[in-house]
């Protein structure tokens, strides 16, 4: 029965405002780029079905607003995430500098069971913009990723669909691995929901 259970992978995309989170998601799911996506307000998600090693999974990609002050509202979605994607803009140093705090904030709020092994993926976006504008080198980004336990790193362009497909394939794979490792843990899902179930049914005494 459990093998036939539908697999839903929850992926959270984080990063400063304007780095291209919405654009990346749309490029991946809808295969298009529009220069006039609006700044994200609140939160939204897109779903996409993909085959990972012959297993059909549904990815639910959560996109939230990048401005810090809206983040306190985003925490509701972090729970139960299977993978977190950290995006920065290779032409914007600050967006790279904040990656660390995005990661920390995520780990605090989502509180995954094993933070050390929780899968992240880092995307350096907007590589289509001229080399002369670029301020964060791939080397620097890779060093960062190494330092965090070997986070996979991709340089992408949502605009020109560079590396987007490849990046999300790794995201899907790592999310699935994470989801499956959760399944092996027997205590987590069982203790709490029992009480909730009882409450929902109401007490007839």
């Amino acid at each position: 029965m459990s093998s036939r259970k539908k697999i839903l992978l929850k992926v959270i995309i984080l990063g400063d405002s304007g780095v291209g989170k919405t654009s990346l998601m749309n490029q991946y799911v809808n295969k298009k780029f529009s220069a006039s996506y609006k700044a994200t307000i609140g939160a939204d998600f897109l779903t996409k079905e993909v085959l990972v090693d012959d297993r059909l999974v549904t990815m639910q990609l959560w996109d939230t607003a990048g401005q810090e002050r809206f983040q306190s509202l985003g925490v509701a979605f972090y729970r139960g995430a299977d993978c977190c994607v950290l995006v920065y803009d290779v032409n914007n140093a600050k967006s790279f500098d904040t990656l660390d705090s995005w990661r920390d904030e995520f780990l605090i709020q989502a509180s995954p069971m094993d933070p050390e092994s929780f899968p992240f993926v880092v995307l350096g976006n907007k590589v289509d913009v001229g080399e002369d504008k670029r301020v964060v080198s791939g080397k620097r980004a890779m060093a960062f990723c190494q330092g965090k336990g070997g986070i996979p790193y991709f340089e992408t362009s949502a605009k020109e669909a560079v590396n987007v497909e490849q990046a999300f394939e790794v995201i899907a794979r790592n999310a699935l691995a994470q989801e499956e490792s959760q399944d092996f843990n027997p205590d987590f899902p069982e203790t709490i929901p029992i009480n909730i179930g009882e409450q929902n049914q109401g007490c007839n005494c």
């Binding site: 006039s36 609006k38 307000i41 939204d44």
Partner: protein
Amino acid sequence: MSSSTEPQVEDATREPPSPPSPTASFYDMSDDEEGGYSTIRHSKSGKGVKLLYTKSKVYVHPSPSARDNIPGYVAVMQQKPARDLIASPPTSPGSSSSVGRRAEINSLLLAWVPEKSLGEANTIYTKVESNDSGEPPKQSHLVPAPPVTTSHSSSVGAYAFAIPVTDIFSILVRPPNTGWWFGSIVINTRAGDSFPALFFHDSECQSTIDQRKKLQRENFSISGEDGEGMFWGGDEVIRWLKKFVTVERSSQEPSVYLIEPSESDRVGFGSAGKPTPDKVRNVLEGKHKDDPAQPRKGSVNDGDPVMKALKQARWSFLEKMSQVTTFTRRTAQAVAENKNLPPQVRRLMQDPQVQTVSDEFDSARLYLARWAMGIAEQSERERSQRIWTAKDMLEMEETGVGEFEVLDMEAQDLSLMDKRKPVTVEEWNGYFNVGTGVLEKTPDEVKDRIFHGGLDPDDSVRKEAWLFILGVYEWTSTKQERHAKMNSLRDEYIRLKGAWWERMLDEQGTLEEREWWKEQKMRIEKDVHRTDRHIPLFAGEDIPHPDPDSPFAEAGTNVHLEQMKDMLLTYNEYNRDLGYVQGMSDLLAPIYAIEQDDAVAFWGFVKFMERMERNFLRDQSGMRLQLVTLDQLCQLLDPKLYDHLQKVDSTNFFFFFRMLLVWFKREFSFPDILRLYETLWTDYLSSNFHLFIAMAILEKHRNVIIDHLKGFDEVLKYVNELSGTIDLPSTLIRAEALFRRFQRTVEAIDRKSSFPGMPKPELRQRLPVPPPTSPGVDGRPRRASQAATGSSAGASASGRAPTVGDHVAAGIGAQKEKVVTPELRALLSREVPKLDKQEVKDHGGGVGA
């Protein structure tokens, strides 16, 4: 034969104009005996019609509840004008000239009569129904004539109707699918009207059961008319009609049977030619293809094409009520597989893209829920033509269908009173003294007009009127004073703008300040380039970017975008405690679009921001307050929906965050936003009327939410995707109805509690202190778990801003007792909640803090 319907009998031959010839009679065609016909002459002339064919257990489904189904008979009748009956004996057989045929058709009616209204005629119906010869009975069976109509609006519902066959343009036929749905037919008239679907409950209908048996005996098959499915009641109707008129099944539109088609109809729907989308739409909408009003080009192209096409699905529209509430996975699949679905829709369902959606049940449920809602939305627009009258709604209330419908009824009443025109510039100018320019009406009268009618979008009235309702101008001012005010505001704007300009050049201030400022500039730049670019005003990229290092240097810009950036940077400087926050560009754009003058728009925006500041605070306390208020409003007005939202973890109302933050800017079209904003700015009923707009949107979809949405993510997705589909005029009306209901409820509760010293509504709303710990994993404020009896008074008197937890009346959940919290009471106030400077300093998160 007595009948209450008698006086309503109309002369069916009045239209179309060609009068029946004296030779007209069914028997001209059918070689029947003259003797039978003479019965009619003996009858009380014109008071009866001859029942040729009929079938029982044909239902109208007026509501989703099977309880409301009305059983009746579908019948073909022949009407004979009295004068002909008296003046002319039937002519000899064989005179089937085209004139005669025409006239004979003219006398035919296709009718539906409810069982209940049959009275004595019951036995005649039964008798004619059981005639299994396949031919009309030899004997004339006279029954009372149902009222003849060519449009359903007047008489359909619990009442009989009859349509002259000559007035029928087409019949849509949807065969039954056992266990899934009843077979049904829809009659489309030449006038472009559609009658409600008639559902054939074949298993209850003795004649159909008998006919099936007979078919099986004779042909070893029980397939029906087209040899495709099982024989059913609808087949019979088509067979009857074929006896008298040309009935052609459209090869392109297999569910469409054209009645007496013209040559051009044949080309349009029949063997020749491919159906164009317009033609398909005509059929689906029951429109005659020659209708000059067609086609409506363009309107179909915007928005999600799948949604649009599905909205066109006439079938679903006609069955809307049952579908909206009874959609299940099975029907969803059935719909996708149904051969009788209009090809346009079927194609879309087969589209691989759509198919993947359907395969995935969870997404399919959302998708179909949206579809069903789209159908309901369309029905709302066409409500005036529907059989749903206020009276029906009242009856539904008695049968307990739900508050939702009752609310719509209230809304309808309001809409009748509300036929007010927008305020034009002439009317507006007329409000003011010609000499002094002083307003000669009360501000309330003007606000009433704007609230209900809006300002004319096609003249220049908004340019000036907005400055009044935004508060840039005083209502009591003279023309001269306004002139002076504007001059000083312009100077001030230039000064403020100069200040940040200097900052940019001189790099003054602390390092932190400079960093902040650079970041803000970047943020504004990015957001302006993402704000309303589909509006022509902001679309152009015709001038080079002033800053070659900008990420937008390549794309270019236009003067309006540059003005927007200047205004927002100026605001960032003007209100340093808060600074620019994402979402503000959305709020400025409409004002700038109307004023098209940066200084004027800037001050309009400043005024708008005074009330919106609370939305942008760093700690989100202002947004929390509004979400909590919405939560309470929902508990009070729609406990059933609230229960459901609780079950699906959605009572944080986060799914309304976007709508509240920028006042529905992302949900409505730009022109609708202009109308909505001016309505809200009047504060005519409540300074928090936007929460009633939110409630109105929620109520509209409450059935879908309750029936179909099973998780927080589904609710969020569903609500996000309402964007672009919400009808503004009906939403405004519903919001007003909700406000009135809210007001009555509060009054009732106050009376009941007869609490002598009810706390006065707090006019200036205070912000809740953010929750002491983090807001909790679900992002919602924590709530007091124990009843805070006598909730408000203490907290507000103490000077401590009450926390949300203090206010949310427990008790609501526990005892189901209705409690008016201070947040709710504040909704009755028309005074705009504004923050003081200190509050902005404390919570703003700008550089001034």
